[in-house]
Symmetry: C2
Subunit: 551 residues, 2 copies
Amino acid sequence: MLFRLEKRDYPSIREQSFAYGRGSCWPLASQKFTERIMDWIKRISPEFPPPSLEDNRADADRVITGLQQALKSTCLTFPLDLMKKLPSFLRQHGYRIEVVLHRGTNRWHVIDFFPAGQKASIYGLAIDLGSSTIAVRLVDLQDHLVKEEISFLNPQVEIGKDILTRIHVATQGMGLERLQALVLNRLNEHIQALTAKHAIKAERVSALCVAGNTTMTHFFLGLDPGGIFREPYIPAVNKVPLIRAGALGLAVNSRAPVFVFPNVGSYFGGDLIAGILASGFHRKKAVSILVDVGTNAEVVLGNEEWLVACAGAAGPALEGGVSSMGMMAGPGVIDKVAIDTGFGVWSIRTIGGGRPVGICGSGLIDLAACLFLAGMIDQKGKFVKARCGDRFGVKEGIAHILIVSEADSGTGKDLVLSQPEIDSLMRSKAAMYTILVTISRMVNLSFKDVHSIYLAGTFGTFIDPNSAITLGMIPDLPHTVYRPLGNSSLAGANRALLSVEDQLEVTDIQSKITYVELNVNQDFMSLFSAAKFIPHTDETLFPSVKIPDAL
Amino acid sequence: MLFRLEKRDYPSIREQSFAYGRGSCWPLASQKFTERIMDWIKRISPEFPPPSLEDNRADADRVITGLQQALKSTCLTFPLDLMKKLPSFLRQHGYRIEVVLHRGTNRWHVIDFFPAGQKASIYGLAIDLGSSTIAVRLVDLQDHLVKEEISFLNPQVEIGKDILTRIHVATQGMGLERLQALVLNRLNEHIQALTAKHAIKAERVSALCVAGNTTMTHFFLGLDPGGIFREPYIPAVNKVPLIRAGALGLAVNSRAPVFVFPNVGSYFGGDLIAGILASGFHRKKAVSILVDVGTNAEVVLGNEEWLVACAGAAGPALEGGVSSMGMMAGPGVIDKVAIDTGFGVWSIRTIGGGRPVGICGSGLIDLAACLFLAGMIDQKGKFVKARCGDRFGVKEGIAHILIVSEADSGTGKDLVLSQPEIDSLMRSKAAMYTILVTISRMVNLSFKDVHSIYLAGTFGTFIDPNSAITLGMIPDLPHTVYRPLGNSSLAGANRALLSVEDQLEVTDIQSKITYVELNVNQDFMSLFSAAKFIPHTDETLFPSVKIPDAL
């Protein structure tokens, strides 16, 4: 038995980021940044004469008139707190100032002013509020380039790894305030480090765009999440009003507007809408599907005319939650497996190339597909003892297969996969496929009619469609149909940060989506049972999968 | 020598207030309150179904849709802090709530919500921010009636009686914050007492309208007043943005909108614009004049098509500032004087009817006019010793006339009027008349063409046109031309509190006014010299004044 440990090359964050730079992201890579994009945030040096006896307009009125001329609009809000510092500021800087504004629904709003002619740019933050990982992009709002992207663990994990626990905590005493403070404080620490690193003053961070699922959005805003997981599943808010960074105590300009992606419902949040925005399939004639797989599988199907969405529990198998060696992607984590059945050679790739310490979702799918093709598990996902050979074992009555021995692992212990863990994966993959079938049936659509299937999220990005098709998790379609999106929630937030049109599109997408509740669908359960086979009880659905001969 | 002390009957505040009640005030007393008035603040009980599995819209979205239907408008802002308390509130009150909103420029804004079906009304405050007296009206926003009107001393007087001292203090260290805190704290004390007295919860006070001169407005908002009294006389702000009561820490609903009347310039403030609004002459074809006399005399001339304004120093003589016995109107203050020259009988009336303790502006004008008609002062305003008789005296080289002897006064001391005090009054009356002549000449208008002359402010209201004409302070026109306005600043604030049309008119008035600087007018000085005679060097201008024979 040999290990070939290869180094997995992730595209560097910088490369990734620059590709997203000008408001585009992967599926729209060919789209060029043009002046069509209407900037959300604008920086203007208004022209106005200094005061005199002949022109003794008030300071604020003078600046406002200059701005109205420059913007060719009289609809302008200049907040009182800025008016307070205006008189001395104007005199100090010889009446030459530069004003930062944001474009609202029907008027401009002044965010701040600075001495004219400063070289420093103005910046924005795109934020993906994941329940386990939070990603932040620092974006230059003038050249639209990403300065840096960071990600870090959501500190709410310390209160509860799963969202239900957090919601329960939120409804007790000061739980909600605590959950909100956790995420805001951690966010502020990282924002401060990020701006310090790039020598950017906090006051020049002038806008934020935030996408998260419904519960994360509620926590972020300090909104009561109590109704989300309780029948009839009512969020406090779907359409979030534009707020100011100061209202949340964020470590940026206190008047920076914060655009929070709206939710469709309790189980379909702003992160998904950001994903749709990033994919751009809501603007195409052809019908596409967007899938975000995690503990919940969220699916949207549609085109430029309509969008249908649903979400269903896929089980924690794909997020490293159940398998004893399961974990989130990171150094030493197995993300790819191949088994040469002829020679019995296992090839295992780990992230970073080090000794294996565990396995992530995409690695687990590869592993299960390989075990099936090698005949080590059968169509029901049960171990075929005879084919497993030495690798098979039983501990405390539970069957397992050895993946990496203690001698080769990075933990000093055997890495094994147990029968219950495979059973859990079987349920997850069955749920995933069933959700896709159900939503397609609802609109009388065959998978063959689907132009693209976008795979969102870290998991979706690194999944090997071959393996997922082998398991019968996703439809047996040409590989070109499958399009990994990366962190599409972050990419969507990045877009909305730069363009008012994209923000309007967000509203449009939100109002266009028809959300269907899967949990109340009887049909779903019989479809689910049929999908708990590899690849499926109806093998004709997966013609490309070569089912190994039984012993 | 006899005193006839009469009781002066002031109309009770309640009577006055109810007369102003339905958005009208004296010159518009005939105008009926009709549905034409578009309420600024609205109270609505939106209709919406409680949530169900079939209708699982978010709480906020459900309420907003209900409001949009009721308001027949989709333009609606629902602030985040209210969304926070919405979910539990809705469940607690069975989804029956009542929402208070205010109508903005192009959208509705939610102020607060309450359980549906409450009997308690909603209230607003109209505030006149005088530099010496602050007046507050508590107004029921539903029936438009005044619940109570109060007035109290502006506590900034302890820092400086005159505005220049206060501005000087404001530009030093924390002076501005101190001045602002003084007025806000005192205001809050009175608001709390007022709402407690009427058993009104602070959160049900949903709107404020504030009118003051430019400097008072700056202090109220914490704006730098440094440029106001320094060439080229630049206020920080003329058009004040709509702010929230919470931003000023006012003891009302923190989201209550605060409408602050705009200024035209350093010497022409929102109190005057409120006065114009209250008088309504800006809506008439005929040309009228509005005069507000204090240390500064502010004058507006115009009609529905144009408005010209100016302001000039009238001297403190008319505000009780210079005369040793001068004081503001109050109990025991002489407000009317008559001298029967035939019998040498002086009739003196005091406010409240008690023993005299001092004299107010209108009393001083009466007194001076009487002294002139009795030949005790000549056309230059100098004492005619022979005519003054026993009342004449000299102390420390300064000539004076006895008004009330120590035996009859309420202070136990002689009340006297000195030559320098009369000289000061002569300058004030000359300034007043010159300002009126100058502004009329600017627009090529004769006083005969003026339909009405509105006298604003407490002083203006109680002035006896006979006496003022005798002194040559105001033009020699039929008495019906003169129309006292009372506290027109407060009346104007009351109007804008109730009606969006009136707020729009305020903007219209402000932008229509052409302000002319008198201090830079050379013509003014020669006109001023000619007016320093009683009634004038050109006696033909005052045909109704019978000049007494010289001795």
